[in-house]
Subunit: 173 residues, 2 copies
């Protein structure tokens, strides 16, 4: 069994999802949350919260591997800068705990979870709930975090099935 943390960083809300993947390749839900950053007094405080909460999740759930969504090209420089800072905070929390990260493009995540790269957000939310047996409607950012964890689970089990050495996915970093 392997435990995977998925992160969907954002400067307004950052999604966190933890799953376990069994020897049989089946994934099980462990934990998910959306860190709400809108209540923070300053932008620095938001980054601190992301750093602290991602760190606390790693300490509480001890994931062996971490996956994060590769960033789509942001709409404009200002939002890219904000997203970049949120992402830097999340990545620092991971690497400061001695863990590496695998990155997946949004298209790969949709392909892995819904089966088509053109799926919309609602379909991803729905399928994450179905795959992990979570009833009700998942919060969107938490669903995206679980989706990237599922993508990593799927990719690593495929590479293991194909006999590709474990180091291969690490190059995605």
């Amino acid at each position: 069994m392997i435990r995977i943390l998925g992160i969907d960083p954002g400067s307004q809300r950052t999604g966190i999802g933890v799953i376990d993947v069994g020897e049989d390749g089946r994934s099980h839900h462990v934990f998910h949350a959306a860190i709400d950053l809108l209540g923070a007094d300053t932008f620095h405080e938001r980054l601190k919260r992301i750093f602290d909460e991602v760190g606390a999740t790693i300490e509480a759930h001890a994931p062996a591997e971490v996956a994060i969504e590769r960033v789509f090209m942001a709409r404009n420089p200002d939002s890219a800068l904000k997203l970049g800072q949120a992402r830097g905070a999340a990545i620092c929390a991971v690497v400061s705990h001695g863990l590496g990260l695998a990155e997946y493009a949004a298209k790969e995540v949709k392909q892995a979870v819904v089966g088509g790269g053109g799926a919309d957000k609602g379909q991803v939310q729905h399928m994450v709930g179905v795959l992990l047996g979570i009833p009700g409607r998942l919060q969107a950012d938490a669903a995206d975090a679980l989706a990237v964890a599922l993508t990593h689970a799927h990719t690593r089990s495929s590479t293991e099935r194909l006999g590709i050495p474990r180091t291969a996915w690490r190059r995605r970093r």
Copy 2:
């Protein structure tokens, strides 16, 4: 006497500068460095280096206050994303040590160090060397880090002279 850390974050090189400001308002050079990130294998490794080196500087020199340059509007979303991540890593290193940050626009830094908001990089490099009595040509990113530390020294001593409560500059965060 107060010790100030200035940071000029960048994804290729991150500048660090530490100065002491005496009761007389005069600044003294303590330390400067440019963290070269181009040799890192991955972008995550760059962020880890920024986080680790800024943290190590804080532990080695124990600054009481930290200043960082506010970001000019980046040229394009891709460079904004990279800069944002570098900035997020630097800010996390600071806040995880329990310190706050003051931010200054590039124009304020040029005004404080050279006396004109339209000064070029070379003038800033030159004047930082003159003000701190550092012989020879300073590395550009280290000079920018010392410049933002000097700007903070100047701003905090002005506000103290004017009787503005110390909390005022904290709002810049």
